[in-house]
């Protein structure tokens, strides 16, 4: 009944880009970073994602530039393969199958044909013992090669890539774990183990956190839990090694990196300050403070002009070497805990959730990019452990996206709970939400739910609190002699037997309000505030509550703590049906009758999609992820899909996103969708290779015309510009030997024009006919249908262009215009 496999759970954007160190390409034009199962290539100048290297089937755990070819990058993954990519053209060159879970990847110029990876001992991560091994990459022309030649380098290393570093010219490798620094010299194959004291004295904590080796000298920098940085020298002796200690960070040093020439050492930690130490003069330091979130990784570009820091809030900051921030690549901010629901901003169709502390983030799922952050709390966030600060715990949009309500809370251990309800209005002129009303202490206890009335003229907001009340807030006039304004004020306070109000929900037309009071659901008329009726399903308390939509709007759905999913008929005020199912999340599709219910049983989550009018699932999928689903949301599609199969029809108009326990954003994708995506990405690739120039724009029109012609009749066919000798000459001759632009332009435009020497359209046509005859000769055994398909290829080689009258006129005009402005662009031609 339900076909499995047609719908897949996929990671969709919003994946972490701060999992591993990002690396710069040799020319610093691109930044490569791991992102879930993919590697993303960002442009350092524009912050745009240029390519996504897809191919791994599990988490990518390490990337490193190929030391022998700087246009290639190695990536390793938990799926046990090392892949070699051409990142400029997004081509997978080779796949090396190692067969072990790979946790980190290192390359070294001194070890050609070899990469170093960290693997779990006996391929079992649970043993918590990891080894650094060298993998010899076999020289073979095959696409897929098995790399089985592993040679052991170091035993018992930390699985974190930042705890191992290669020294000057790959002569040694340094690795830290616990209280030990291990240095292995490749030349004489000797291992030195340097240890620190464990005794915590004066708050010292000597545990190593990271290591970096000086690129030109034999010096190892290590970071420690207590924020100290030690510089080790003479480490090829048993005893007479020496280290100097530098202390600025107040908590653990998260990462260290030397600049390529070794003149500076960069360090970062939870303080979100990038510290630049001068090597040799460590008392002189430079700081780049206020980077927003704790620094997790630091890397430098090979020529040293750019640094980049990865932050704990899924952000990469690109910093110039004079410590100016030049670009910020922001991924989806995922804290430890998403307190707000996942929401969709009706205007931008962006996903809205908790972002930075005290902020709401608007994240475009289509472009996999953060749109903006909305500062809700509007207070400076102080990075200090044990400090309680305001945080956004609830938020809701109205149906049009013109109002946004947020709830922020602060709970100090001994102090009272502080709650603020803020209502924001969307201002078109500012293209952003602006604070309209702030209500301090709307309830005397935590607010459990809030929702807007979904009618067209939204004027009502309902909040429920643990103080046993639900409150209705309405928009009222607040004008005075100075200005005209509106504000929100309390209209009604309702209680029911002093029970805690847990949920609230408006029916689709806004005529009914359902408020859950522990075990009892009360239905209110929001116009008169009459209690219409009550439902209950004791002894379970109400967990989720929602009205059906469209044709199912007469149903009210509720889930209870004693694992029941109930559906009440509002017309008959009876229980229509109920199912024993431990539903942890109930999510309504706003564009259809479908309801998605997530249940959790035995460490795995299951999905049920059903319509309220029948207790039979439209679709069900077991084991969608490990652990329980945290949040979920339906997002409307821009273009509806056309899935014919019954099981995937529910995904036609909306897409379902959910957050797993590990805060991964996942979605369900159908086969047709994936097919379309892959085809479009290929098409994009070809188009990207053509530079956008005035010529291209012009010729683009030609090509469009050509396509039209193909679709329709056998009208004018246009050649591709690459065929022209003049263009070839123009593009291939170095800019500095080219004649002046005006001269070239004439020649160039001439080449595009039909020669004017008395030829009319008639011989053209004759020619074409002749050609087609010729073609028919060649492919006489083919069917006529194939003719059209073959033709374009055939015409590519043809040098004679064919233009319509209008295009001819355009070109003539082009010919007359002055092209001297083009001169400066010559240098930019590839």
């Amino acid at each position: 009944m339900v076909e499995q496999g047609e719908i897949r759970v996929v990671r969709c954007g919003g994946s972490t880009i701060n999992y591993r160190k990002a690396i710069f390409t040799l020319d610093s034009k691109y930044l490569l970073c791991t992102s879930g199962d993919m590697v993303k290539v960002y442009s350092t100048a524009t912050e745009e994602c240029v390519h996504v290297l897809q191919g791994h089937t599990n988490l990518v755990t390490g990337i490193a530039l190929n030391p022998t070819n700087h246009l290639q990058v190695y990536s390793c993954s938990m799926d046990g393969t090392i892949k070699l990519w051409d990142f400029t053209d997004n081509i997978l060159i080779k796949t090396f199958t190692v067969g072990y879970k790979l946790l980190a990847l290192y390359t070294s110029k001194a070890h050609e044909g070899c990469v170093f990876v960290i693997i779990p001992k006996e391929n079992d991560e649970a043993l918590d013992s990891f080894q650094l091994v060298a993998v010899r990459l076999p020289k073979s022309s095959d696409q897929e090669v098995a790399a089985t030649e592993l040679s052991f380098v170091l035993n018992d290393v930390s699985q974190l890539p930042k705890c191992t570093s290669y020294g000057r010219e790959g002569e040694f490798v340094a690795s830290v774990k616990g209280l030990h620094l291990t240095v292995y010299f490749f030349r004489n194959q000797k291992t030195y183990r340097l240890s620190l004291n464990a005794t915590p004295k004066k708050g010292a904590n000597n545990i190593f956190t990271c290591v970096a080796c000086h690129p030109k000298e034999d010096c190892i920098a290590t970071g420690h839990e207590d924020g100290k940085i030690r510089l080790w020298r003479n480490f090829n002796r048993k005893k007479e090694y020496t280290h100097s200690t530098h202390h600025w960070h107040h908590s653990a040093v998260n990462d260290l990196s030397f600049t390529p020439e070794g003149t500076n050492l960069l360090s970062g930690g939870i303080e979100s300050v990038l510290v630049q130490w001068r090597y040799g003069e460590e008392t002189k330091k430079d700081f780049l403070p206020r980077l927003g979130a704790a620094i997790a990784h630091i890397s430098t570009s090979p020529e040293g002009s750019l640094y980049c820091t990865s932050h704990s809030d899924n952000k990469i900051t690109i910093i110039q070497s004079n410590l100016r921030v030049s670009a910020v690549i922001q991924g989806l901010v995922k804290g430890d805990n998403i307190k707000t629901d996942l929401m969709i901003d009706p205007r931008t169709k962006a996903l809205v959730l908790n972002g930075k502390p005290g902020h709401l983030q608007f994240y475009s799922l289509q472009h996999d990019k953060q749109l903006y952050n909305l500062d809700i709390v509007q207070q400076e966030y102080i990075n200090q452990s044990g400090l309680h600060q305001f945080d956004v715990v609830k938020a809701a949009f109205d149906a049009q996206g013109s109002w946004l309500a947020t709830v922020e809370e602060r709970k100090e251990k001994l102090a009272d709970l502080e709650i603020q309800l803020k209502i924001w209005v969307y201002k078109d002129e500012m293209q952003s939400f602006v604070l309209n009303t702030t209500i301090t202490s709307p309830h005397e206890d935590h607010i459990t739910a809030l929702c807007f009335c979904n009618t067209n003229e939204t004027t009502m907001l309902v909040t429920t609190g643990r103080d046993g009340r639900f409150k209705a807030w309405v928009l009222g006039d607040d004008s005075d002699i100075y200005r005209e304004s509106v504000c929100w004020s309390c209209d009604f306070v309702g209680t029911y037997h002093n029970l805690l109000a847990t949920n609230c929900c408006f029916s689709e037309d806004g005529s009914l309000l359902a408020v859950g009071f522990e075990q009892i659901i009360t239905i209110w008329n929001p116009n008169t505030w009459d209690l219409v009726c009550t439902f209950c399903q004791p002894p379970g308390k109400i967990k989720d509550l929602c009205f059906g939509r469209l044709s199912c709007s007469k149903y009210l759905l509720g889930t209870t703590t004693n694992s029941f999913l109930c559906c009440w008929n509002l017309l008959t005020c009876t229980l229509e049906w109920s199912v024993g199912l431990n539903v942890i999340l109930l999510q309504l599709d706003p564009l259809s009758e479908n309801v998605a219910a997530f249940s959790c049983a035995a460490e795995n989550s299951d999905l049920f999609v059903f319509r309220p009018n029948e207790p039979r699932p439209v679709y069900l999928q077991k084991n969608i992820c490990q652990g329980s689903v945290q949040r979920a949301v339906f997002t409307p599609r821009d273009v509806p899909e056309e899935n014919c199969s019954e099981s995937s029809q529910w995904l036609n108009r909306s897409q379902l996103y959910f957050l797993t326990r590990d805060m991964d954003l996942m979605t369900f994708s159908t086969k047709t969708e994936e097919d379309r995506l892959t085809s479009s990405s290929k098409q994009l690739l070809i188009e990207e290779n053509v530079p956008v120039t005035p010529f291209y724009l012009l010729l683009g029109k030609h090509r469009q015309a050509k396509l039209d012609a193909e679709n329709g009749t056998l009208a004018a066919q246009v050649q591709l510009p690459q065929g022209s000798v003049a263009i070839k000459e123009l593009l291939q001759t170095p800019a500095h030997v080219l004649p002046s632009a005006t001269f070239l332009c004439t020649m160039f435009v001439n080449s595009l024009l039909i020669s004017k020497d008395g030829k009319s359209e008639v011989p053209e046509e004759a020619e074409e006919e002749m050609e087609s005859e010729k073609e028919e000769d060649e492919t006489s055994d083919q069917e006529m249908d194939s003719q059209h398909k073959v033709k374009p290829e055939y015409f590519v080689e043809e040098l004679v262009p064919k233009l319509s009258k209008k295009e001819e006129r355009d070109l003539k005009r082009v010919r007359k215009t002055d092209y001297s402005w083009l001169c400066p662009f010559y240098g930019k031609l590839p």
């Binding site: 000057r168 030109k216 000298e217 034999d218 010096c219 020298r233 003479n234 090829n236 002796r237 005893k239 007479e240 090694y241 020496t242 280290h243 100097s244 200690t245 107040h250 040799g280 003069e281 460590e282 008392t283 002189k284």
Partner: protein, 662 residues
């Protein structure tokens, strides 16, 4: 072991003087250290860092530079413009010489040890030739006369301090023609002496770099700063195996709170001292071969000898300061409390006497008789004896005017148990016995050191420890050649010599009943010698075989006083700076490895812990730091403490430093 009522004395306001400069003699493995009050101390590094000799200070002497020549010649120069050479046996200046250049700020000796250079206030450098028995003026290098080969100008500090003058506090010259300078802007700079150019600047401190020292093989430099830090620089090659080297700042030690005025580097440790009066010996772990006494950080704060004498019967304490003596009567209480309880003081301790010394010379030793009627002290130049009359609240003191002519200066003074005799260890290595009575003072006898054929030089070493037996029959003396002699006072002749152990005796006492001599040495060893039998006792042999618990060794400061419990004759009480311990000779020894039951706290003495009662060694480190522990009559234990916090409160405020989180 017993339970004691403890007098916890905290009114001994002993204030050590700040350390000004020091010099390490690697041939003799000894450190000479000069303090601000003009006293000079010599520490023997090969003998557990024991404070071997103390040359008492003098009010007119202020030392700015100290220098060794050879193994055993020590010179100092100071702001009074004089160069002093010391007699290291008699512990007094041998001769003084004026350099005629005003106050002397610095002194240096060339590596061949043929010449001295003194830097004087008037800007000149005086060159002296070193002769076997004196030094002789040779040349005057005046800065005006154009002798200088290079002239290096040290720039001012980093931005913000540019308007302040920069003073170079210290320079060092390396054999590869590198000059190292430390200045008031906190910089340590390395210069090329041939070209006069700057090689490298290390900004070490926000304040001054006050002291510099180069290790013997010139691969390490240490610099002391006003912040109390000591920074080490090492000559390292940036690439392993490369011959090219550079000076790299490596370690930073922070053991001081105030100016580090003197710093030096031995083979295995960095030694630093400063205004906070403590000498810190910080081991360089990479140079220490095995875990031994060398691998422990040591702080020397108090002298390794007793500054307190106690008159047991009248409960009097005599405190010795460099410039005065203080006599205190202990307070008392009427209440009887439970173990662990602190009793209310009903009779306050009373300062009976403050005796200022005469002359410029500082007091080097003092003593009070058992009965409390006699006080004696000595300076480098004279010995004084006072008679004390104490009738209830009236106290009168009379100086004994006519002392025998033989008494000139003493290294140690000791009254006999019945207070009838005073033993004076003179600077000539002899011991004078003086009988004291109310009527007169009479020289009875002089014990001359027994000349020993095996130790030709040993005969002239002055005595630094004396112990008399309770029955008045025996007197023992220990000298700085580790010889312990026993004299019979009845027969007035030398009785015997204890076999020489190769470590200086730090304390000794004769058991009141068995007449066994108990000696502790600087290396923490303990011996018991039967005087009558002229041999080590069985207990001593057993102790040597089995050893005391290693807890006893943990601190490493020498034992400075030994006393016995008259109530329980088998108990010996001895103390060092960090703890006092009671050794019961009747109980079996527990050896080095045995599980140790520590603490004398009453809480732990519950019946459940019976087995611990069988331990010979009991340790109490509740009172710290200890200057004196003694048993009075009636089970009273007097404990003299000098809390470090009191010393710190008397020091000037340290330089202001921003501390994170404040």
């Amino acid at each position: 072991m017993g339970e004691f009522k403890v007098h916890r004395v905290r009114f001994f306001d002993f204030m050590p003087s700040g350390i000004r400069c020091m010099a390490f003699n690697s041939k003799a493995d000894r450190l000479a250290l000069a303090r601000l009050d003009g006293s000079v101390e010599i520490f023997n590094f090969s003998n557990n860092y024991f404070q071997e000799k103390v040359i008492p200070g003098n009010d007119s002497r202020s030392i700015e530079a100290i220098c060794w020549v050879g193994c055993d010649r020590l010179f100092t120069a100071g702001l009074n413009g004089e160069v002093v050479e010391y007699d290291l046996e008699r512990l007094c200046p041998k001769y003084t010489l004026d350099a005629f250049g005003g106050p002397i700020w610095t002194a240096a000796c060339n590596s061949e040890e043929t010449h001295f250079a003194f830097g004087c206030e008037d800007g000149s450098v005086k060159l002296f030739e070193i002769l076997p028995d004196k030094i002789q003026f040779e040349r005057n290098l005046d800065r005006q006369k154009g002798h200088s080969v290079q002239r290096i100008l040290v720039d001012r500090g980093p931005a913000g301090t540019r308007n302040k003058d920069c003073v170079v506090w210290n320079v060092a010259f390396l054999s590869d023609y590198t000059i190292v300078s430390g200045d008031s802007a906190g910089k340590v700079q390395l210069w090329d002496a041939n070209k006069g150019t700057l090689i490298k600047t290390h900004l070490v401190s926000k304040w001054d770099v006050l002291s510099l020292s180069v290790s013997e093989n010139e691969d390490s430099i240490v610099a002391g700063t006003s912040e109390g830090t000591v920074v080490q620089f090492q000559l390292l090659s940036p690439k392993i195996g490369d011959t090219e080297t550079q000076w790299v700042r490596t370690r930073t030690f922070k053991h001081h709170t105030h100016d580090v005025r003197a710093v030096t580097e031995t083979r295995t440790a960095v030694v630093s001292g400063g205004l906070d009066t403590q000498l810190v010996i910080c081991p360089l772990m990479d140079k220490v071969e095995v875990k031994s006494s060398e691998s422990v950080l040591r702080k020397v704060i108090f002298p390794h000898r007793s500054l307190v004498s106690c008159a047991k019967k009248p409960s009097l304490l005599l405190f010795q300061f460099p410039d005065q003596l203080e006599l205190w009567r202990l307070g008392g209480t009427d209440t009887i409390g439970k173990p662990g309880e602190s009793l209310p003081v009903t009779r306050k301790p009373e300062k009976l006497l403050q005796l200022k010394r005469k002359g410029d010379d500082h007091i080097c030793c003092s003593t009070i008789s058992e009965c409390g009627h006699w006080i004696a002290y000595s300076t480098v130049s004279s010995i004084r004896l006072y008679q004390l009359q104490c009738d209830n609240n009236n106290i009168s003191i009379t100086k004994v005017s006519k002392l025998p002519k033989v008494l000139r200066s003493a290294h140690q003074l000791q009254f006999s148990a019945d207070s009838s005799k005073l033993f004076v260890a003179s600077e000539q290595a002899t011991i004078h016995v003086i009988s004291v009575s109310r009527s007169e003072c009479k020289h009875v006898h002089t014990f001359k050191p027994k000349s020993d054929v095996f130790l030709p030089t040993g005969s002239s070493a002055p005595v630094h420890l004396l112990a008399a037996s309770a029955d008045g029959q025996w007197l023992t003396s220990a000298n700085r050649h580790c010889e312990i002699n026993v004299y019979n006072l009845k027969k007035l002749k030398h009785h015997c010599m204890v076999p020489v152990y190769n470590s200086l005796p730090s304390a000794m006492a004769i058991h009141p009943e068995t007449n066994n001599l108990l000696v502790t040495h600087a290396d923490q060893q303990m011996f018991e010698f039967g005087i009558v039998d002229k041999q080590y006792t069985d207990w001593s042999r057993k102790l040597q075989k089995e050893g005391l618990h290693r807890c006893r060794l943990k601190w490493g400061t020498p034992v400075t006083h030994i006393t016995f419990n008259p109530q329980a004759p088998s108990q010996v009480i001895l103390h060092d700076m960090h703890m006092f311990c009671i050794i019961d000779q009747s109980l079996p020894l527990d050896g080095l490895k045995a599980q140790f039951y520590s603490q004398l706290t009453p809480k732990d003495t519950s019946e459940t812990d019976k087995p611990r009662k069988n331990n010979a060694l009991k340790i109490c480190n509740k009172y710290q730091p200890l200057l004196h522990v003694n048993l009075l009559e009636d089970d009273w234990l007097v404990v003299v403490e000098r809390p470090l916090i009191d010393i710190h409160s008397q020091l000037p405020a340290p330089v202001r430093q921003k501390k994170f989180g404040t």
